[in-house]
């Protein structure tokens, strides 16, 4: 499974949706994931990829982790994984 597929699977599970319903331009809000669902998704990503996600729930926009869409989350995770293996 690619990073993209694994991130989509995590988000789909959190949203209680089929993976096919999670598109690249979906936002967490459009998928019905609330703030608790977001931190739970980030936890699942950290566990799955053994990375540390720089995310502060007090001010998500200031975090160095773009959660504006599924595509941006995947890109951020790919970057973290690449840095980890660098």
């Amino acid at each position: 499974m690619t990073i993209k597929d694994r991130v989509i699977a995590i988000i789909a599970e959190q949203a209680v949706l089929d993976v096919a319903d999670v598109t690249m331009d979906s936002t967490l809000e459009s998928l019905g994931i609330d703030s608790l669902g977001l931190v739970e998704s980030i936890f699942a990503i950290e566990e799955a990829f053994d990375v540390s996600v720089p995310f502060n729930a007090n001010d998500p926009s200031q975090s160095d982790f773009d959660i504006s869409s599924v595509a941006s989350i995947i890109a951020a995770v790919e970057k973290l994984v690449a840095e980890q293996h660098a």
């Binding site: 209680v16 608790l36 931190v39 739970e40 980030i42 936890f43 950290e46 566990e47 540390s52």
Partner: protein
């Protein structure tokens, strides 16, 4: 002052996962204590408990709820559903604004603490699930009850060790009586039958390794249980106006502090709570037909409690019935008074006194009629439920048949 009645009851405990099943077990004198089924049991010297077996969280809650609900919250919500369904109350509009939940628990989400300490200490992981705090906090159960049933009035959690649920029910009673609330969801819950929860109790060396035998000469300690009892306390006129079935009147409540020792109980402190509850309920000692004892099965509690009852009731102490149901469901710690209030309702409504099972030898220091081993038929009009906590905090609830 307004009068307060009970219009719903619910429970989960080692005897059953509902009220009818629990009362049937109490009537039969069935023992719900058995071998513990928990992780690392072989490292515990205590291996018995009143554990809720066959608890199927997935049958009651969805995956996202389970991620947020510690076991003590799950028990609470399940018991609350039974109680609120029985009451027939729907919390909307003004009733929603003037109703709340006051619940007792000693430890809150002990399983959540235990699991996550394992994660960081034993497994050496540096990351825990994001819901650890909202799951373990002592007020989680009260908060989820408020959310599930739209209770927008006063809600909070009381933690007074083994008296938590009696204190909670006493405060709920006072709030309805004073007019601060129309209906209150109250009682308590505990779920600390996990490795850390039992290991902590082992340290005190007050636990029996064989059985809970309250008031019996050969008693050798308490046995932990788990579970919840939840009730709907409602203003009497409100209940009557809607034709609700009334289970009992909450007649009075009193609390006292020993101001003595952090673990050793005081007969004087217990007696002051008992006589205070009688006074608050405007009951004479001879009006009381049954007392559900704290009756933990420890050397210290049982003789102290009997001395307190004997002194508070004088000659009537030899005529009233007193039993401890902890020998059946174990000591449910912060939820125990609520589970035990069910025996009080059975006494008032069915005329059946739950027995003290496991009773083998009379103890001259506990020379009261403790209803040994077999339930008894008796018509009683008023009852007390005792709870005397570590820390010397005592809480006694008085109920009366309406």
């Amino acid at each position: 002052m307004r009068r307060v009645v009970i219009t719903g009851a619910g429970t989960v405990n080692a005897l059953a996962q509902d009220v009818p099943g629990t009362l049937a077990a109490m009537r039969e004198g069935r023992c719900g204590i058995g071998p513990l089924e928990i992780r690392d049991r072989e490292r515990l010297s205590v291996s018995i408990g009143g554990q809720v077996k066959g608890w199927d969280a997935e049958a009651h809650f969805n995956r996202q709820q389970i991620a947020l609900y510690d076991r003590f919250t799950q028990f609470t919500l399940h018991a609350a559903r039974e109680a609120i369904t029985q009451s027939g109350l729907v919390f909307e509009d003004q009733l929603s604004l003037t109703s709340g939940a006051v619940l007792g628990t000693a430890g809150g989400g002990v399983n959540t603490w235990d699991d996550n300490y394992r994660t960081v200490y034993e497994e050496g992981k540096n990351r825990v699930h994001p819901f650890v705090v909202p799951k373990l906090m002592n007020n989680a159960a009260a908060s989820h009850v408020s959310m599930e049933w739209n209770l927008r009035g006063p809600s909070f959690t009381v933690a007074t060790a083994c008296a938590s649920s009696n204190h909670a029910m006493g405060l709920a009673f006072q709030m309805v009586r004073s007019g601060a609330a129309t209906a209150m969801i109250t009682g308590g819950s505990e779920a600390m039958l996990c490795f850390g929860g039992i290991k902590a109790w082992e340290g005190l060396r007050v636990m029996s390794r064989t059985a809970c035998r309250p008031f019996s000469m050969n008693r050798d300690g308490m046995v932990q249980g788990e579970g919840a009892g939840v009730f709907v306390f409602e203003e009497y006129d409100h209940a009557r106006a809607r034709g609700a079935h009334i289970l009992a009147e909450v007649a009075g409540f009193a609390m006292s502090s020993d101001a003595g020792d952090i673990v050793m109980p005081s007969a004087q402190g217990a007696e002051r709570a008992i006589t205070g509850a009688l006074r608050d309920a405007r009951l004479n000692p001879e009006d009381v037909g049954y007392i559900n004892a704290h009756g933990t099965g420890t050397a210290a509690n049982d003789k102290t409690e009997c001395a307190a009852v004997a002194h508070a009731f004088g000659h009537h102490a030899d005529r009233l019935l007193i039993s401890s149901t902890k020998a059946m469901h174990g000591h449910c710690i912060g939820g125990t008074g609520a589970v035990e209030l069910l025996a009080c309702l059975m006494a008032l409504n069915d005329g059946v006194i739950a027995p003290t099972i496991g009773y083998e030898d009379p103890d001259p220091e506990c020379a009261l009629d403790v209803v040994p081993n077999v339930a008894r038929k008796a018509r009683v009009d008023a009852v007390l439920s005792n709870a005397f906590a570590f820390g010397g905090l005592n809480a006694v609830v008085a109920l009366r048949r309406l």
